[in-house]
């Protein structure tokens, strides 16, 4: 053969192994999915948190992918069930960061699970949007950790403001032994004097306790004008039933931790008249026409109820907000670079979500104020808005 063909052949033989991988990876990089890692309490005692969160994330990821993804890239959801167990949460977070190599962490349905994952996220330098309630998650502010739900301190403040408006100055606290309960109880004790409320009784119950009549009997004799139950799970349902059994007439306030139809169902008609702070999502239909949140919450609620044929929950709403905050950050940063997206999340201003209007800052990684909470009251087995 001619020297030209021989040279060409030698050249091709040498270049092919180099060219082929380049040809294959170049388009692959453009299609590389955005990996969203989540660890949620889908089953277990906190399943009323994690189950709607999981469903919401799946629904929204499918919807965003159907609309073309973000910047041409699809979202890939990698999720694990931590069942409300902090140890499992830690293990799954490690797996998500090291093995699944996710771009962002959205999860930690409960405070315990979140706090177990925080050190891992900080050490790995990966943005982590928590879906749990306690204020310790963002105070002191941690560089990589954000959260979407209202804090327990905001819940205390909202409740105390409402108590004051009804003319009460003496309140009793009853809380459980879980992470959220303890955190909210501590916050309420701290902020009560600022709101002009005196705590005259402070009772606690065990996580699996099935009879709180002893604690409530002591509260009955304490001179309290209103009672605040800082808890979540089955405890508040039993407290509510015991409350009615003992014939306590003082108004009962619950925390946003039980802002779900499940609580009303378990408490039965004992839940009549109970008030609690919750996100606007629960009363989407009762919001006035000009409310900035109305379009967002109505759209999310309709999509969720159409797809899953079950009532919407505020916890699912927090997952929605978490995902949308990240999606908006990726669009603003133009990439999924962890540091850039973190900066973009921190710079969020005026995002209207299911939880409220979010304005974050370097010192505020939650971005909600008291107006994000609405005071709800249970009437005839359903939520109503307290004006």
């Amino acid at each position: 053969m001619s020297r030209l063909t021989a040279t060409l052949r030698r050249f091709t033989r040498a270049a092919l192994p180099l060219a082929l991988p380049l040809l294959l990876t170049a388009p692959a990089a453009a299609q590389e999915p955005i990996r969203v890692g989540t660890f949620l309490a889908v089953t277990g005692p906190a399943s009323f948190l994690g189950d709607p969160e999981q469903k919401t994330l799946e629904m929204m990821v499918d919807k965003i992918n159907a609309d073309g993804g973000i910047n041409g890239r699809k979202l890939q959801l990698i999720s694990y069930d931590s069942a409300g167990d902090a140890e499992k949460a830690r293990t799954f977070t490690k797996r998500l960061i090291e093995q699944d190599k996710v771009d962002v962490l959205i999860g930690g349905s409960s405070t315990g699970e979140t706090m177990a994952a925080v050190p891992l996220a900080e050490a790995a330098g990966i943005p982590f949007i928590s879906l749990a309630g306690a204020v310790v998650i963002v105070e002191p502010t941690k560089k990589w950790v954000f959260k979407t739900p209202h804090t327990d301190r905001m819940a205390c403040e909202k409740i105390f403001v409402d108590m004051k408006a009804r003319g009460f100055t003496k309140a009793a606290l009853i809380s459980g032994s879980g992470g959220f309960d303890k955190s909210m109880r501590a916050e309420c004790v701290k902020v009560a004097p600022n709101q002009g409320i005196q705590i005259v009784a402070d009772e606690t119950y065990g996580a699996a306790d099935t009879d709180m009549t002893a604690q409530l009997t002591k509260i009955k004799g304490s001179g309290a004008q209103a009672v605040l139950n800082a808890g979540f799970g089955q405890g508040p349902a039993i407290v509510t039933r015991n409350y009615k059994q003992l014939g306590l007439t003082q108004p009962l306030y619950q925390s946003h931790g039980v802002a779900s139809k499940e609580y009303i169902k378990l408490s039965g008609d004992a839940a009549e008249g109970v008030r609690l702070p919750a996100a606007a999502l629960l009363v989407a239909d009762l919001l006035p026409a000009g409310d900035p949140q109305k379009p967002v919450v109505t759209a999310y609620r309709n999509a969720y109820q159409d797809k899953y044929k079950t009532d919407v929950s505020t916890f699912g709403g927090h997952a929605y907000d978490g995902l949308m905050l990240y999606v908006n950050a990726v669009k603003a940063a133009g990439s999924t670079d962890k540091a850039k997206t973190r900066d973009a999340i921190e710079a969020t201003k005026g995002y209207v979500g299911t939880g409220g209007v979010v304005n974050m800052s370097p010192t505020d990684h939650m971005g909600l104020d008291l107006s994000a909470f609405r005071m709800l009251e249970v009437k005839n087995g359903d939520w109503t808005l307290v004006k």
Binding site: S47, T213, Q234, L266
Partner: protein
């Protein structure tokens, strides 16, 4: 203060009645096989959750409750037949082996419950309404009276069964001297199975009676089993009267302790009781029963 302690007593006795039923279950199985059945608490759970799912299927309460108890009795029979009999075949089985098998059975039943039902918390409708009643300074739910009354009826029925029927006396005979009982034509295997069926029935009864008050889920068996066990030890393992007394007493101590000492550590009380009894009064309130032939 006066009205308060009545309230604590009322709550304590209601819980105590359930502990008594669970403790009776422990005692019956211990009586027959010298083994402690750590799956006893799971029978309570099966009764409660079974009734919940039957009601959800549309059955009226008066049908769902007996069916749930019957279902638990069947599970008890299967546990003895499938898990324990193979270990007991061919003479005296090592008691420790049987106990460990029952722990495994408990884990298995709990796992099965999560699959058959779910991990959520469920409520059962109260039998006769949920308007609180005022009795002597305390407010009591009508369901509490069902718990106390149902337990009392069960205890009396058991007493009649063991004292007056041939089958009951045969069971007692087997416990005293298995070899002599077999020589008399009493089937020790049959007695064992009947013990489990009775223990399951008592546990499940406790479960359905108390579910309207305490709610139920797949893991209520853990705490109830342990507290029932504490009550059985308090009263004296193997003694039926002791089991009832132990259950009620434990409930009372818990209720009064939660009211006057500390409500946060209510669960600790049962375990402190176990330790105290084992240290100071190993035979329980009733004292050691039976004697060893050397």
């Amino acid at each position: 203060m006066g009205a308060n302690w009545m309230q604590f007593v009322a709550g304590g006795l209601t819980a105590g009645a359930v502990y008594a039923l669970v403790a009776l279950g422990f005692s019956i199985v211990y009586h027959a096989s010298r083994a402690i059945n750590f799956a006893q608490g799971e029978f309570v759970m099966i009764g409660g959750m079974g009734a919940v799912s039957l009601v959800a299927l549309g059955l009226p309460l008066w049908a769902a409750v007996p069916l749930a108890v019957a279902g638990a009795m069947l599970v008890g029979l299967l546990v003895q037949r499938l898990a324990l009999e193979p270990a007991q075949a061919g003479g005296q089985a090592d008691v420790v082996t049987l106990i460990i098998i029952t722990i495994g059975v408990a884990l298995f039943l709990r796992g099965l419950a999560q699959l058959v039902w779910d991990k959520g918390i469920h409520s059962l409708p109260a039998f006769t309404g949920s308007e609180p009643m005022h009795l002597g300074g305390a407010t009591v739910m009508p369901q509490s009276l069902w718990v106390l009354g149902g337990s009392a009826v069960a205890v009396l029925a058991l007493g009649w069964f063991f004292g007056r029927t041939l089958l009951g006396k045969a069971m007692r005979a087997t416990a005293i001297n298995p070899l002599a009982a077999r020589l008399m034509g009493i089937s020790t295997r049959g007695v064992m199975r009947l013990s489990f069926v009775l223990a399951a029935a008592l546990g499940a009864l406790g479960g359905v009676l108390t579910a309207p008050i305490t709610l139920t889920s797949y893991d209520v068996g853990v705490m109830l089993g342990l507290k029932g066990f504490a009550a059985a030890i308090l009263g004296g393992l193997g003694s039926f009267g002791g089991a009832v007394a132990g259950g009620l007493l434990l409930g009372l101590i818990e209720g009064l302790g939660a009211g006057f000492v500390s409500s946060a550590y209510k669960d600790v009380i049962a375990f402190v009781v176990i330790l105290a009894v084992l240290f100071f009064l190993p035979g329980g309130l009733v004292g050691a029963r039976g004697s060893e032939r050397v």
